[in-house]
Amino acid sequence: MASNSSLENTIDKILNHTESNILSSLDSALSESRQKLDDSVSTLEQEYDQIISNGRKEADKIEKQIIGSSDLKARNKQLTTVEESIDKVFAKALDEIANADRSGDYSNLIKSLLDESTKNLGTNEVIVFTNSKDKDIVQSNLSQYPGAEFSSETIDCLGGVKVKSKDGAMTFDNTLDAKIQRLKPLIRKDITTQFGVGN
């Protein structure tokens, strides 16, 4: 009997010990789980913030893309429209120049073009070319330039002269077409200012 009761005592002790072990394991597992849960809340919050911040970044990026490309498209359309208008203005102006009256100050213009050309070439020993309309005016002015010859060959231009040295080494294009071409970039700016666009 005595041995039975000591055996029961031992079994009880073991059971109590095991029970307390299990309970303490359960406690620590519970606190560990709570800890993990607490930790994961902050991780989740961080991840949530990260997702929100990435989303905002992406939205900003897309907004920039959309605004940037639509602004550019609108600006490019404006540029094309302005350029078309500039072309129209030029075409009209060239037409008016081509059909301008050759009397009055036009002879002075031809003289100044001849002056400029001979000065740039550094010689009066030149051959002068012009179109059929300006032939007479140029010829009448040439008497003031000893050594200068008038070419019977006409050139295709709006007006003005093209001057070539007699040895053929130098040419100075002083036609109205060439002048307009040289000044075109500046004139374009003036035209767009008239339209009230640009900078």
């Binding site: 970044k57 990026k61 920039k64 893309q65 959309i66 605004i67 940037g68 490309s69 602004d71 550019l72 600006r75 490019n76 540029l79 094309t80 302005v82 350029e83 500039i86 400029e116 740039n120 070439l121 550094g122 053929g168 080494a169 130098m170 040419t171 100075f172 294009d173 002083n174 060439a178 040289r182 970039p185 374009r188 700016k189 767009t192 640009g198 900078n199």
Partner: protein, 460 residues
């Protein structure tokens, strides 16, 4: 210089990219010349030498197809000029500044000589404001400052063009409402690269604030002499006339130097190192020195020239001479590139000399300089430990050595490595830097004040 417009038809010689014109009077050095071919095609050039009735003209678009008879040279009477206005923003031009986007010529506010005017040293203002590139390794450890010239030394095939495009897309000035613009000059790049730059800026919406100059590899080499100059002319106008902060990216300056060598050889000049002309240093300085800030002017011109070092040789004349002129360098490393790290910046060989003046309280954050120094120190130590591990094996390393190895790995994988479309703020960059520094025990952090360690150190 004469009024210009005289056309000469006595071509004495055509030699490589040069045309020698006879019986020329009144031509001026650097004067713009229009070469007209038999077929009426026009090419641009400039006077390199005048004297004894001759003028040597360098033809930008090459001399292929030109013949002595029937070719005319018209001396225009002015230097090469670039039309400038705010309207250039959002436009794409070729290497000579002609529209490449199918739109008309820009309407100019004025025409500016592409050689620029030298900045009066007395008028220069010391650069001290930060530019955020959104690339951690640059913002964190080699900060770019407004008005600085900070080159990227790369090697053939490396990811410098990706980095260039990323900087162009992301760069911004923080803490100010001032306008910011990017002038991007691609010099002698492949067609696919030029297209990538254009598309990349267009799709990100950054083209709106950018001006692109694209000189592709199949364009005549001589055009490359002009490309950086037209780009800088536009940048100077935007910066000093319109008050914008302008970032100029020039890629690849090696192609520029090659073009310079080609002309020098055609002129039969005495070659210097590796055949480059003896005046390579002076010539490069006429480009690089066009960066800066001026007293009393709002804007700034910042330059990031990119050059690929032949055979990755940093002693090659181009990087060597560039390094003398610029204020630091960002070096891309072949080993990192092979590991697949992007951007593969070797921070131990890189340096931004002006960084210290543009970071810290009021610019970035008070702890920036110190955490950057600590990162340098730790990565340098990590490299030493890696070398040691290669000999004795990982098992032979101490616990602290292993921590440094860990820091080295984290530096490359978390800080250096970045997606090409990832734009990190300076706060995010500093956060990553602290995360890496915090892998070390506190007693190893010797370069940072305690108050910053207390504030930012991330305890495990």
């Amino acid at each position: 210089m004469s009024e210009g417009g005289v056309q000469y038809s006595k071509i004495a010689e055509i030699k490589g990219p040069l045309v020698v014109v006879d019986d020329v009077s009144n031509a001026a050095f650097d004067e713009l010349v229009e070469i007209e071919t038999n077929e009426g095609e026009r090419r641009l050039g400039k006077v390199l030498e005048v004297g004894n009735g001759k003028a040597i003209v360098q033809v930008f678009e090459g001399t292929t197809g030109l013949s002595i008879s029937g070719t005319n040279a018209k001396f225009v009477g002015k230097m090469m000029e670039m039309p400038v206005s705010k309207e250039l923003l959002g436009r794409v031009f070729d290497g000579l500044g002609r529209p490449k986007d199918g739109l008309p010529d820009p309407i100019a506010d004025k025409f500016v000589d592409i050689n620029g005017e030298p900045m009066n040293p007395e008028q220069r203002e010391y650069p001290k404001d930060f530019i955020q590139t959104g690339v951690s390794v640059i913002d964190g450890t080699m900060t770019l400052i407004r008005g600085q010239k900070l080159p990227i030394f790369s090697g053939s095939g490396m990811s410098h063009n990706l980095l260039a495009a990323q900087i162009a897309r992301q760069a911004s000035v923080v803490g100010t409402q001032d306008d910011f613009a990017v002038v991007f000059a691609a010099i002698g790049v492949q067609y696919s690269e030029a297209e990538y730059f254009r598309r990349s800026l267009e799709e990100s919406g950054a083209l709106k604030r950018s001006v692109l100059f694209l000189n592709t590899a199949d364009d005549p080499a001589i055009e490359r002499i002009i490309t950086p100059r037209v780009a800088l002319t536009v940048a100077e106008y935007l910066a000093f006339e319109l008050g914008m902060h302008v970032l100029v990216i020039l890629t690849d300056m090696t192609n520029y130097a090659e073009a310079l060598r080609e002309i020098s050889a055609a002129r039969e000049e005495v070659p210097g190192r590796k055949g480059y002309p003896g005046y390579l240093y002076t010539d490069l300085s006429t480009i690089y020195e066009r960066a800066g800030k001026l007293n009393g002017r709002k804007g700034s011109v910042t330059q990031v020239p990119i050059l690929s070092m032949p055979s990755d040789d940093i002693t090659h004349p181009i990087p060597d001479l560039t390094g003398y002129i610029t204020e630091g360098q960002i070096v891309l490393g072949r080993d990192l590139f092979r590991q697949g790290v992007y951007p593969p910046v070797n921070i131990l060989m890189s340096l931004s000399r002006l960084m210290k003046d543009g970071i810290g309280e009021g610019s970035t954050r008070a702890d920036h300089g110190e955490v950057s120094n600590q990162i340098y120190d730790a990565y340098s130590r990590a490299q030493e430990v890696r070398a040691l591990a290669g000999i004795v094996g990982k098992a032979g390393l101490t616990e602290i050595d292993l921590k440094y190895m860990d820091v080295g790995d984290a530096f490359e994988n978390e800080f250096l490595t970045q997606a090409t479309d990832e734009n990190r703020t300076i706060e995010e960059t500093l956060g990553i830097m602290w995360k890496i520094v915090s892998k070390l025990p506190k007693n190893e952090i010797t370069k940072i004040k305690d108050k910053y360690v207390d504030q930012y150190y991330k305890e495990k």
